[in-house]
Structures are given as C-alpha cells and as structure tokens.
C-alpha cells in the first residue's frame, strides 16, 4: 500500500455542493488500521530514537534541576524582589495555554460536528495531557516548600487545624487545573479504548497482547457498548468545552484579581482564553507537521486539516491583537496614572524588546495566513507556528514581569534577570513534553481509528447513495 498522496489529489479546494473528502486516496477501513498501527508496530526510526534520546536527556536535566531547587531553595531562580513571579509562573501559564487546544479541538469541534477533527484530535488530546503535566510541575515547585504542596488540598489537617482559603484565585487555580488534567485524561483515555482494542487484536506477542488487553478493558465493539460510549463521549465533550474556558479564565484571575497595574483588568479572561487557543493550535501544528511526514500519515492528516487550523490561528491571533490594543485604550480611557504608566512602560520601558517581540510574533506573523498559499504549504506553516509559540511565551513574560518589576513604589523597582536554573527548567520542560509525546507516538494509537473509519463510512455512504438523501 502506497502512503504518498496521489498526484493532483488536493482536498483544500472548495467545491460547491460537495463535501471535501477528509480521508484521501482509495482508502478502505483496513488501510486506516494499517496506516495507524504501523507507526507503533514497526521498528522505531532513527529520527525517533535520536529525538527520544535528546528529549530524555533534557528530562533528566530537568529532574536534576528540580532536585537542586528542592535542596537549595527557590533562591536558585531569578525571582527577586519585586519580581516574585518569574519564569516559573510564565512557564506555567505558557504550558497551560498550550494544553487548552487539545481539549478544545476535541470537544468544541466534536460538539459542532466538525468531522475534520478526527485525525488530529488524539494527538491534540495527548498534547493537552503532557502540556498540563509540564504546567503542573511549575506551581508545584514554586510553592517554596514543595513537599508541603498537599496543604493546598482541603483535608482535615492535624498539623494546621485550618482549611484552605477558598476566596483566593490561587486556590481556584488548584481546583481548575487539577480538574482539567483529570477530565482531559479521562477524555483522552476513553477515546483511545476502542483503538487500544485494535492494537490488542493485532498483537502477535503474548505480553503485548496482555498489556493492550488490560488497557482496552475487554472492549468488543458491541453496538450496545458503542451506544453508551458515544453518549458518554458526547457528555464528556459537553463538559470539557466549558471547562477549557473556565480553566483559563481562572488562570487569568490569578492576575486579574490582584491590584497590580497592568494585571487588574476585566479583559483578562477572554483575552487569556483566546491566547490559549491561539498558542495551543500553533503547538498542535508544530507537532503534527513533522509527525505526519515522519510517521507516514499524510492521507489522514491532510492539507485541509492544516488549512482549517491556520484559519483558527488567524482568527485567535487577531483577537489577541485586538486585546493588546484594547488594553492600551482602556489604560488611557480609565485615566488611572499607574495603569497608564504600566502600559507605556511595557511598550517603551526596559522590556520594550520583549513587548515588540511579542507583537511581531503574535499579531503580525499570523496575518500571513490570509494567503492561501501559506496556509497550504507545510514548511511555511511550521515556521509561523514556531513564531507563535515564541510570541505566546513572551506574552506571559511581558504580563508577569513588566508589571511586577515596576509597580507602585519606584524605590522598589528592579530589572529581572533569569538564572541558569530558569533557562534549564524552561528547556527541560520541553524535554518532559517531548519525551511523553514521543513515547505516545510509539505506544498508543496516534490517530482515532474508530472515528476516522466512521468518517470514511459516511464518505462511502454519500458516494453510494448520493447527497441529499440520508
């Protein structure tokens, strides 16, 4: 079976009155199974092995840095008065933002019956889980005495004799992010069970069969099971969609509920949510473009999928740009001295270099997606999404650091400089993320086979019975 796209087969062109095919070529159900399973069943490619070794080494370095931090104390970071929320919080918000696209692609696109989601949702959900794992690490080690992080939980403590303070956005954040992580994990795993059963049934090796057998919980594909499964899946999607919005809203409350100039604004929740979707879609594309090439999934992750995602990036990127403008307008319109100063300081103060990096990457670079040529050329998309990732990291840096480094008392102002531990942890968190993602590519079904087959079934049905009849 050839995996190359047949010449002239381009599903990114709109044909009026006809649905563009989402599965390309002369593909049948078994081809989908083969295409997806070969990723996990063949021997790992050289690229995968090298990528894994590099990621794994970075992960080890991350672990060592965390041990060093726990042993020495949070002073190893660049967090100094007045910037007590340095890179750890920047990294936390960055990763949590990335973590939002996975569930959003899955849940919202599922609810809107956007069938093009089927071939990308699995990898996007996996990305969510791994990004949330990276995100969760940072506040966990940022609490100072990380071994007492369980004090955040509302449990009847024999040491403290008190309860957590439920009026604090930081505690809401604990609940929001842990709920989000849990629900995303359930959603991801549940979606994978039928495909894990496919893996089980194809296993030749006894142990492999047993491992996938346990993971797939004895799934048979019974229609009664499918009926309840689809209901549960739709319900989970319906919960996950507002959850995505609530979680990043609450993350923005960490800032917006405080009194710090530049943070204390009501625009933060929608602005953060748009930014999260923006960065998440960018990260999905950054991962999927090399993946489809290396893993041979071009027939399932098509140009049309990328075209659609680029449009979402264009839309959310413009929203983010609008939010930047609105912030400036409100700072002027509100006529609060401290707010006016905070925003002028952002754009023209000592961190102007970071601010204009952010504007270039987040507002200007996605505008290139107005051109169809760019939206359908993978290497161009890849470069722009890398810019977006960088820009979104800088957005969190600009928000966190510029506001804190110059707030109400000029005598307390200081310039933030990161230490080597800050750098190591940012890079190391990518090690954690990539290690998990590469393992996922090898061990789990990277594409939702069952759903792709059902999309194909519809395609076949339409071909055989014509349009307009259902």
């Amino acid at each position: 079976m050839s995996l190359a796209i047949p010449n002239g087969l381009d599903n990114s062109r709109e044909k009026p009155g006809e649905r563009a095919p989402l599965v390309l070529g002369d593909t049948d159900y078994h081809d989908i199974t083969e295409t997806v399973c070969q990723v996990a069943e063949r021997k790992p490619s050289k690229g995968w092995v090298i990528g894994f070794l590099v990621s794994f080494a970075l992960l080890q370095w991350f672990g060592l840095c965390i041990l060093y931090l726990l042993y020495t104390g949070v002073g190893v970071w660049g967090n100094r008065s007045p910037v007590f929320w340095g890179w750890p919080i920047v990294n936390f918000v960055f990763w949590v933002g990335i973590g939002h696209a996975g569930t959003l692609i899955s849940a919202i696109l599922f609810l809107f019956r956007q069938e093009w989601r089927t071939s990308i949702n699995r990898a996007a959900e996996a990305m969510t889980i791994f990004a949330v794992a990276c995100a969760g690490t940072f506040p966990g080690i940022h609490v100072g005495r990380a071994w007492l992080a369980f004090w955040l939980a509302p449990y009847p403590s024999l040491n403290l004799w008190m309860w957590p303070q439920f009026r604090s956005p930081l505690l809401w954040d604990v609940f929001a992010v842990s709920t989000y992580g849990t629900v995303s994990l359930l959603f991801w795993y549940m979606g994978m069970v039928p495909d894990l059963a496919t893996f089980r049934d194809r296993s030749k090796n006894k142990w492999r069969r047993m491992a996938y057998g346990i993971l797939s919980l004895g799934w048979t594909g019974s229609s009664r099971h499918w009926m309840r499964y689809e209901k549960a899946y739709a319900l989970l999607a319906a919960f996950a969609a507002p959850l995505v919005l609530s979680v990043h809203t609450i993350v923005s409350f960490d800032f917006a509920v405080s009194q710090v100039p530049g943070w204390h604004t009501t625009i933060f929740p929608p602005y953060f949510v748009a930014g999260a979707i923006f960065s998440g879609f960018a990260m999905v594309l950054t991962l999927m473009i090399p993946c489809r090439k290396i893993l041979g999934l071009e027939k399932l992750i098509t140009i049309r999928h990328m075209d659609n995602m680029c449009k979402i990036i264009l839309a959310t990127g413009s929203m983010v740009g609008l939010a930047y403008g609105t912030e400036f307008f409100i700072a002027w319109y509100g006529q609060v001295q401290a707010e006016k100063f905070a925003f002028l300081n952002r754009a023209f103060g000592p961190y102007a270099w970071a601010y204009w990096t952010m504007i270039t990457c987040n507002v200007i670079s996605p505008q290139l997606f107005w051109f169809k040529k760019i939206r359908t050329t993978p290497w161009m998309i890849f470069i722009i999404t890398i810019f977006v990732n960088i820009g979104m990291w800088f957005e969190r840096f600009v928000i966190t650091v510029t506001s804190l480094s110059r707030d109400y008392i000029p005598s307390a102002w200081a310039y933030f400089s990161p230490t080597w531990v800050d750098w190591s942890m940012l890079i190391g968190s990518f090690g954690l993320f990539m290690t998990l993602f590469l393992l996922f590519c090898r061990l789990m079904p990277v594409i939702n086979m069952a759903e792709t087959k059902s999309t194909l079934a519809k395609q076949i049905h339409l071909k055989e019975h014509g349009y307009g009849h259902h």
């Binding site: 159900y29 005495r145 303070q165 809401w172 609940f175 496919t198 229609s223 549960a232 919960f239 609530s246």
Partner: protein, 484 residues
C-alpha cells in the same frame, strides 16, 4: 466443529464486510423476533440502534445526579470550611460570600459529572471484562479492524441453531459460527501474581514505619526529611558571619538610634562611677568615657576590622594586675541609684536567676550548674566563679557602682553583660545581690519578729525532709550493697 460440540455453546455469530449488509441483517434478525442480539463493529454504526432495537441508555441521568452531587459538595465544602468551621475575614467580605465560591463549585460539578460519565459508562457496559466467549472466535480479531459481526445469544427465548443458521444464510455472509466457552486457563500467570504480591507487601513497609513512628515514643530527636524552619543556625555575639560586609555576626545599633528604655542622660547611672569626682581626678579619662558612651559602637566606621581573630582570643588570661589598681582608684558610686523596694528586688531576683545563677548559684554561693559541671570534668582553664557572700564583695569594700561595672563589663573569665541585661535590670541585680549577701550571713535575730516563727517552722520542715531523704538514700545504698 466436532470438538466445539463438547463445549458449552453461548450463541451464534455471522460475519459481514460492510455497514449496509450488517444493517440489513440486523433488521431481519429484529423482525424475526430475536431479543438477545448484539452487533460488533470497529466504529459506531449510524442507525444500528433502530435496526437492532436497542433502548436508549439511562447514562445521562446518572451523569446529572453526579453533576448535582458535585455542585452540592463544592458549595457545602466551602461554606462549611470558610464560613462555619474556620471563619476567614477576606477584604471585609461576609463570611458566606457565594460569588467567591462559584469557581470551585463549578469545577467540582464538571469533575463529578465527568466521573459519572466515564465510570458510569463502563459500569453499564459491564467492563472491564477480560474473558469473553466471543473472543474465542478465530475471526473476531477483525471486529476492531474492518469486519462486522452479528450475534444471537443462546439465552434468547427463540434460540434454535438450525433456524438461525438459515436466517443468517439469507443475508450476505459467508461465515457463520457457534460461539463456545473459552477453554484457556482462567488463572493469572504465576509470575505476575508473585510480582504483584511482592510489590504489595514491600509497599506496606514504609507505611508501617511511619505508623510506628507516629504511635510510639522515642528518646531520639525527631527525624527530619526536610529541615523547614525548625533549626535556625544562631550565632554567638563574637562569631564571624559571611552574611555582612563587616564580617560581624553581632549587628550594631543603627547609628543615631537608642534601644527602647535605654535612653539615660545620667552618666553616673550608666557607668556606676561618680563622674564629678572622676573629672576632678582625671579629666581626660572622664571625657574619654563620656565619648565612648556617646558613640556606643566603640569603633569608628572607617576603622579597619580584623575578622580572622577568634583563635587568639581563646587563650585570654585574666585581666592584668594593673587593672586592679584602676578598679581600686576609680571613684565608684557608693550607693545604688535606684530606689530600693520589694518590686526592684523581685526584678533583680528574676534577672539574677536568668543570667547569674547558672555560675554563681541560686544563693550566690558560687556553685551554679556550670561550675559543678566544670569541676566534674576538671576543666583546666576554669576559674571558679566568686562566692558573692565573701567578705571582699561586701558593700563597704566593694561599692554598688563597682559591682554594677563588673556586671556590665565583666571580670576575669566572666564576660560583660551590658549587651544582654538592661541598665535598670543590672542595678536591680546589684540590689538583689546585696539582699543575698545579707541572707547568707544572717542569723534568726535579724528577722523581724512577726516572720521569725514562720521561718523557724519552715526550717524544721526542711531539716525533717533532708533527714528523710538522707535515710532513704542510705537505705537504698544498703539494699544495693546487699544485692551485689
């Protein structure tokens, strides 16, 4: 087929290659009146519920109940914890401020509802179920790939193999097979079981250790995994520190400030010396003393400080004999400048017992705990503390001012206590030492008449107790000797 006949038959299955043929077969089976049927497909087949007559699920109701339970739990938890059991005052808001409780209640609603959907679905589906007769069919592996199967259970009221075979024969299938019992061993492989048992039993060990530590007493100090703030490394006054540019562990007062309760204008009161007399005798010396007190840092800021000195300081001999003469010639204040009353003596007693008694003893007899310990280990450089009731320290030869100065600046091995004890307290100690001196050399006639009786009775009681104690000790010693 012959071997299958010996096993229990669970039902009959037929294989299809497309959605349309499967749906067609389903409709026929439903119309033929079979109830205990099922279809297996690699993906959810649109319209199969109707074709097979599957009833809708009650799952949404379970999820609704779980979601409501989540809301209730979230609100009840927060209201109980923050408004009833442990009331927090935050920004002057009421204890029960509902808007602030909404985010967590909302998250818990979603969490519980999701648990309901996830676990409820598996429970209704009867999964996980790892051993299923349908898996014995050799072609069933393709049910998760590209084949569709229709199954009729043997428990169906109308079940009859022959008629079902002919019914299946009318549909587009070329594979019809009975489903039989799984004859593979239901036992878990021994290796897995052993590994599981080993992990389970080893994982209990740390828990048992923690439990033992929690419920038993131990003379050993607590085991600290993390030090937290339990041990703060304290420095002595004369030690060095790397934390400050000047290398001193002891921090000086901020220039131009005076500690609370330490502002005095009377130099006599601060030094214990009659300054008028000293000025007459030695004007230069008096001026130097005044300037020293006005600049309590003793060193000028631009003076260099040698940090690397502590080793030399250790072999410091008692003050040279010349200082004795200074001690004798200085015009000390003869009398304690504080008004002597019961309150002052009580204050002096408290301070004496804190700072002085460890060496000089509670009664000033010179045999405090430190001295006893030093005698016991025969410390070579030890100079025993003075007996405060010796004739040389009485008021007539050792004026109050001199004693005050000794407490403040130290003598021989004794360090100065001006840094630890406030000026007024040092005078209170002087007054108390005078009282101790009188009490140690007193006889009963010096006690006021009304107190005499009381003291005699107390004296008798103490003597009696001492006698009893001595007898008991003697007896114990005798018994011990007999045992040996």
């Amino acid at each position: 087929m012959s071997e299958n006949n010996e096993k229990k038959v669970h039902g009959l299955v037929a294989e299809y290659t497309s959605v349309d043929t499967l749906l067609d077969a389903c409709r026929r089976v439903r119309d033929a009146g079979y109830k205990k049927t099922d279809a297996f497909a690699p993906f959810p087949v649109h319209g199969i519920d109707k074709a097979l007559g599957i009833k809708p699920t009650i799952l949404p109701w379970i999820v609704l109940a779980c979601g409501l339970a989540g809301t209730t739990t979230g609100l009840a938890m927060q209201i109980w914890m923050n408004s009833i059991d442990y009331k927090y005052i935050i920004s002057g808001k009421p204890y029960l401020s509902l808007p602030a409780f909404i985010p967590v209640a909302y998250e818990l609603t979603i969490l519980f509802a999701s648990f309901g959907a996830f676990f409820g679905m598996w429970a209704l589906n009867g999964l996980p179920r790892f051993s299923n007769p349908i898996f014995t069919d050799p072609r069933f592996d393709r049910a998760t790939d590209d084949r569709f199967f229709l199954y009729i259970d043997a428990k169906d009221d109308k079940y009859d193999e022959g008629s079902i075979r002919s019914l299946f024969g009318e549909t587009t299938t070329d594979y019809i097979q009975t489903v039989v019992d799984d004859d593979s061993s239901p036992k878990v492989p021994k290796g897995i079981f052993v590994a599981w048992a080993a992990v389970a039993s080893f994982s209990v060990i740390p828990l048992l250790i923690v439990l033992k530590m929690r419920v038993t007493n131990s003379p050993m100090p607590r085991f600290h995994v993390f030090f937290d703030m339990d041990f703060s490394p304290a420095k002595d006054a004369q030690q060095t520190s790397t934390l400050f540019a000047d290398g001193r562990a002891m921090r000086r007062d901020v220039p131009g400030t005076v500690a609370r309760g330490e502002i005095f204008t009377d130099m006599d009161f601060m030094t214990g010396i009659d300054m008028d007399l000293l000025t007459e005798m030695n004007a230069a010396k008096a001026e130097q003393l005044v300037s020293t007190f006005n600049n309590p840092h003793f060193l000028q800021d631009d003076e260099e400080i040698n940090v690397e000195k502590p080793e030399e300081l250790e072999i410091d001999e008692p003050a040279p004999p010349t200082s004795e003469s200074v001690m004798d010639t200085t015009p000390w204040l003869k009398k304690n400048p504080m008004p002597i009353d019961a309150k002052l003596l009580k204050q002096g007693k408290a301070q004496f017992e804190i700072y002085c008694a460890v060496c000089h003893g509670l009664n000033g007899g010179g045999n405090g705990l430190v001295n006893r310990r030093a005698q016991k280990i025969l410390a070579a450089t030890w100079i025993p503390p003075s007996k405060l009731n010796q004739p040389g320290l009485m008021q007539d030869v050792y004026p109050d001012g001199k004693m005050f100065s000794t407490i403040s600046n130290g003598i021989r091995k004794m360090p100065g206590y001006s840094a630890q004890i406030k000026t007024k307290d040092r005078w209170a100690i002087v007054a108390y030492v005078r009282a101790l001196q009188r009490s140690q050399n007193a006889n009963i006639d010096q006690v006021p008449d009304e107190k005499r009786e009381e003291i005699l009775i107390e004296q008798e009681e103490v003597k009696q107790k001492l006698k009893e104690q001595a007898e008991a000790e003697a007896k114990a010693a005798e018994e011990a000797a007999q045992k040996n």
